[in-house]
Amino acid sequence: MADVKLSGLHKYYGNVHAVRGIDLTIADGEFAVLVGPSGCGKSTLLRTIAGLEDPNEGTIAIGGEIVNDLRPRERNIAMVFQNYALYPYLTVYENIAFGLRARKRPDAEIRSRVGEAAEMLGIGNLLGRYPRQLSGGQRQRVAIGRAIVRKAELFLFDEPLSNLDAQLRDEMRTEIKRLHHEITTTMIYVTHDQVEAMTLADRIVLLRDGKIEQQGAPLELFERPRTEFVARFLGSPSINLIPAKLVAAERRVAAIFDGGGSITLPVSKSAALDGAAGRAVLLGIRPQHFSRAGGGPLRDGFVSYSTVADLIQPTGTRTFITIKIGGVDAIAELQAHDVESHGQKIELAIDLNRAVLIDPGTGSVIA
């Protein structure tokens, strides 16, 4: 059990400033996910915490103790790698027992702990096999087994699911979530996949170019992003952004689309935009904020929008349609049978309470 505290962390690779002044605190027992596009510094950060790389500046503290000059094996951490890092010349049992053997634990203890871990991950019957005889999912389980058997205070995961196919990935994600539920150790997880981030994290730390763009609970980042980057990164399909200009419209604010048409913003949004008339903005509407208009009166903050479904992509449970709004292609997510054919006319309702307004120049969310 340990909390992790990073202060003023910097890391350079030659001229590349990979980590630029990170301050981050992860509470004891928390599941933190470091997520971001490739090159954002998340792996570097993780490896620095592990001790596999040394930071150029800043301190790393685990459980209140500064560990900067401790070697990886002295930091009492366990790590799961992207490519499983299993030793091909050892059996599954020996692979899991590797760390315990290194610390010279007695055979009986090793046997019981390996058995326990294998049982927990459902690989108890594979202990005599060699890695080459296992499937991808089984190998990943062995890698996780090797981590948990050491009962470290901090678990690090470096994109462990990237090499698995989609279905396996879903399965393993659930496994990892259940793992955290059962052993409640502090876990730091690196991924570029925002779905993994959303589903696994207690706290998401979204990184961009070596800095923290935003951190917080998943839904908080999703519903109240602070910058355009965050809004774009989370959510699949990604948020629709429509360029527009704000004008005052009686007691409220309206957005005039650069591509034609306009939309009046609800009171909740207008309040925050006081005095913003004339500003250029990006209006961000998530695909999920569209729905088929029921025909009755619209709720507060909802507006109606008549359009044509250009393309339809049914997935079974939902149907994604491509529409034009403000002269821009946008994706709307509807129920399975809301739209039947291409080119069909449809009446949509847009929930503008959840819309975000972004300043195109600074990229920050203004409302």
């Binding site: 592990a50 001790g51 596999l52 070697r71 990886p72 094996r73 951490i77 366990a78 790590m79 790698f81 992207q82 490519n83 499983y84 890092a85 030793y87 091909p88 010349y89 590797f98 760390g99 290194a102 610390r103 090797r146 050491r150």
Partner: protein
């Protein structure tokens, strides 16, 4: 590069290829066959005009003579010298290669210098080394020869093993480091097992090099530590050569190599080509 065609054409081509292969094998192995045959012939058969293609029966008296006269010690000496020097070259060379591969110790300059050592022509250094050895009393002793062969094998070992080590996924080492191994342990418990094929291939090469070396053995030995190639040249006379002995000794000295190479055959192709392809 061959166009597919009517089956009979394919078979014809295949037959031709086998013919070619057989012809090549004949050409390249005939001398070896001849050597073996001479070693089994009696002096009458050896000095028979015209030469006999097959001995009337296989007899080992030529070999017996070698054992009786103690010439066989040359083989033993070669085994010791080649084996020990290979061992040290592999161990020290692989350690050095690890440092170069993972830590880039000494940067490009050190790597360049090590490779350049391989290009040193033995003839250019045999003389100064001889002088130095005389000074330190290392001539005609096991230690001197082993030291020399180790030194000459090191650049090759370092070059080859570096390539093999680089192929080991870094994650395996990092995982071990996190799990509790020291760097030293990682080298022995993770890297060495992972590069075993490379170790085998490289050690065969170092062994063969030390075994077959002539010029250093010629210069640096006198009477105590005669190795196999030098012993062989003792049988060359001005007028007549002791052919029986030459053949028998050659066979004795070549069989171990044949056996070793054939056993390690599948590693070797990679060994040779890796060195060349990686440049």
């Amino acid at each position: 590069m061959r166009l597919g065609g009517v089956p009979s054409r394919k078979t014809r081509v295949l037959a031709l290829r086998y013919l070619g292969a057989a012809a090549l094998t004949l050409f390249f192995l005939f001398p070896v066959y001849w050597l073996f045959m001479i070693s089994f012939k009696t002096p009458d058969e050896i000095y028979h005009v015209p030469p006999l293609w097959v001995p009337s029966h296989i007899q080992f008296s030529n070999y017996y003579v070698l054992f009786k006269d103690g010439d066989v010690w040359a083989i033993a000496n070669s085994m010791i010298v080649a084996g020990v020097s290979s061992f040290f070259a592999i161990i020290l060379g692989t350690l050095c290669a690890y440092s170069l591969a993972r830590f880039n110790t000494g940067g490009d300059n050190l790597a360049m210098w090590i490779i350049s050592q391989r290009m040193i022509p033995p003839i250019a250094v045999v003389f100064p080394i001889f002088l130095v050895y005389v000074y330190f009393g290392l001539v005609d002793g096991f230690f001197g020869l082993v030291l020399l062969y180790t030194a000459f094998n090191l650049p090759y070992v370092i070059w080859m093993m570096r390539g093999y080590i680089v192929d080991v996924p870094l994650e395996l080492e990092e995982s071990a480091l996190v799990d509790g191994l020291s760097r030293w342990d990682v080298i022995w418990k993770v890297v060495f097992p992972m590069v075993r094929p490379g170790l085998v291939a490289t050690s065969v090469f170092t062994f063969v090099f030390a075994w077959n070396d002539f010029i250093f053995a010629l210069v640096l030995t006198r009477t105590e530590v005669i190795t196999f190639p030098v012993q062989l040249t003792h049988y060359f006379g001005g007028q007549s050569n002791f052919w029986a002995k030459i053949a028998a000794m050659s066979v004795l000295g070549t069989l171990p190599i044949f056996v070793a190479v054939t056993m390690m055959q599948r590693y070797l192709v990679r060994g040779i080509s890796l060195g060349a392809v990686k440049g």
